[in-house]
């Protein structure tokens, strides 16, 4: 039963993802864009977990784990970036 719902859940989550992305395009502040990046990370992880079950491929869960690890690091990298730190002098 749940199996039949799964693909629709995936579609639903993806629609959410696309809707959330509109924020990245519109902004208006940097904070919004970084927030979208965060949303993108979380939602993609959700998407991958759903897909792992739907396709019956448990390996995909490792992809989700790796993705959330790297998303953490990349989001850290964002904050080291010029637009985001007034104290952006040479370290």
């Amino acid at each position: 039963m749940t199996e039949t719902i799964l693909p629709w859940a995936i579609v639903f989550v993806m629609v959410n993802l696309v809707a959330g992305l509109s924020r990245a395009w519109k902004g208006p502040t940097d904070g919004d864009r970084m927030l979208t990046a965060l949303l993108f990370g979380t939602t993609t992880v959700a998407l991958l977990l759903l897909m792992a079950e739907w396709l019956g491929r448990p390996e995909i869960r490792i992809v989700a784990l790796l993705l959330v690890l790297l998303a953490t690091i990349v989001s850290l990298a964002f904050f080291g970036m010029p637009e985001h730190g007034e104290n952006g002098d040479d370290g």
Partner: protein, 122 residues
């Protein structure tokens, strides 16, 4: 959809597998709802702090519910542990990110001059 009749076997006992499936379904739908709530907040709320508030909380709850649902469907403790780990990491990442974003947004409240990124939308 879940046919209630299918959950009850002829002996009149509740089928545990069917029950697990039903719980997973409920969790899945709830998870989707919270993700949807997060998105609505993201799109509709007026400023970045509100959006931050809505998004991080709702989405992480959604992810937790989805993970629980998937753990039930997969049915092995190992998978459940892995999913828990993924969720905890996501939670940690969004906690730190939310904090940094909030700090960042606050420093920019009086709009800094010459930041092209911060210009109002056209």
């Amino acid at each position: 959809m879940a046919d209630p009749a299918a959950l009850v076997d002829p002996a009149g006992l509740v089928d545990p597998a069917g029950l697990v499936d039903l719980v997973a379904l409920a969790l899945l739908l709830a998870g989707c709802f919270f993700i949807f709530a997060g998105t609505v907040g993201m799109v509709r709320l007026p400023d970045v702090f509100c959006r931050l508030h809505a998004m991080t909380k709702a989405d992480n709850l959604g992810l937790l519910l989805l993970s629980l649902s998937m753990a039930l469907l997969a049915g092995t403790p190992r998978t459940a542990l892995l999913l828990l780990l993924v969720w905890l990491l996501a939670l940690l990442a969004s906690t730190v990110s939310a904090h940094l974003i909030a700090r960042h947004a606050r420093t920019r409240l009086p709009p800094a001059s010459g930041t092209r990124e911060s210009e109002p939308e056209s």
